[in-house]
Symmetry: C2
Subunit: 233 residues, 2 copies
């Protein structure tokens, strides 16, 4: 989690961002900087900085003589980690979770395949450590500890792929896994089959078997998708 409230403009963003992404101000809505500044009790300069940030996320568009217009959802920078967090915290969390899980199902298998050929010895070792950690915490209602290893594991796969675009999805995957553990599914211990798949995946990467690594990851992500289907068919 990033620092919540780095300055006044950050506070404003923490209030406005979630409101906009939640659809509280529907696309086309017009806000006025001065009015917002009054509402949040900050100076116009601070408000302007906040608007600039929202603008860079393509959440709003600022035009002279008209005001700050909320843009349609299709134009939002939905890969911005901040936007993702705001949306995950809001009402369309289930929808968002599904979108991201589908993205994972596309990216992670390919990343795992690349990791099998590119991973360094240290990365392989770390991967195995994570898998063992998952095994060790997979029983006895230690979901919180399990999550830590799970996140580290998937993050390492993405980093070890050697592709920076994949690597930067680590935070997204972390959010999805955390969200799953905290609010939605998984009230009991994780599926033993899934744990085994992770151990085997670490093996495949270590042995430099991209085909097997990709196939195993596909099984993992299919499982993640099925979890969602069970929850919201």
């Amino acid at each position: 989690m990033t620092t919540p409230g780095r300055g006044l403009h950050g506070r404003v963003l923490d209030a406005l961002g979630p409101a906009i992404t939640a659809g509280e101000y529907p696309p086309g809505s017009v806000l006025r900087t001065d009015e917002l500044a009054q509402r949040f009790d900050v100076s116009r300069s601070v408000m302007r900085e906040a608007v600039r940030v929202l603008e860079s996320m393509h959440l709003v568009e600022s035009r002279r003589r008209v005001g700050v217009t909320v843009r349609p959802r299709a134009e939002w920078n939905v890969y911005d980690p901040q936007v993702i967090r705001w949306r995950l915290a809001g009402a369309d969390r289930p929808h968002q979770l599904r979108s991201l899980t589908v993205l994972r199902s596309a990216v992670e298998p390919v990343a795992a395949g690349l990791a099998a050929t590119h991973a360094t010895a240290e990365q392989c070792a770390e991967l195995t450590r994570c898998a063992l950690g998952m095994v060790a915490t997979s029983r006895g209602h230690r979901l919180q500890d399990y999550l830590v290893h799970d996140v580290a594991f998937h993050r390492m796969i993405l980093v070890a792929s050697g592709n920076e675009m994949f690597a930067r999805l680590g935070d997204v995957v972390a959010e999805v896994l955390a969200g799953r553990t905290h609010h939605e599914v998984m009230f009991e211990d994780p599926d033993p089959a899934a744990v085994t798949l992770h151990v085997q995946l670490a093996e495949a990467v270590r042995e430099g078997d991209p085909v097997r690594a990709e196939r195993l990851t596909r099984e993992i992500t299919v499982g993640a998708l099925q979890e969602l289907d069970i929850l919201a068919p």
Copy 2:
């Protein structure tokens, strides 16, 4: 392409963004707002807005008493369309092009599979139109016209997938295809085999055959990757 120079702070960004992403200010470099404001001949308020935007892209970090620090590349929001454009315009364009093409190879096949089951009749029709347009412009050095249809085709696949995360990669794919046509490979007419694959893909989606759609798209993206290997082995 977005509007270049929407206000003074935009001009500053158009100068600073490319400089930072090009590594002109290496990670750890410290800039001072006042100095930058002087250099670009703008007021401090304008400069502060620009810094806030760079900060929201995780390109820099602003801290009291120390200044504006350039963050390490690994922390940049590399999915921000603006950042992508800056980097594609800079020195590590080849590296960036490769990263993005690998991303395409992961995402597009899955998107095509989803499109085969989710695409509306109108989307299927548009897809076919695009494919025919590609055929029509595939000979006689009409690369510019070909590109338009190619971009529209891939964009439609991503949109028709029904997943918003995929849909938002349309701009990225457009940048990659445009970059390829304009500067790097493709001095002659496009590969006829690739054109055929697109026609068949439109077919597969129309017929609702996800497996075939995914397989065909994999062939297309493998081709795109090979093009890069030929250029920079």
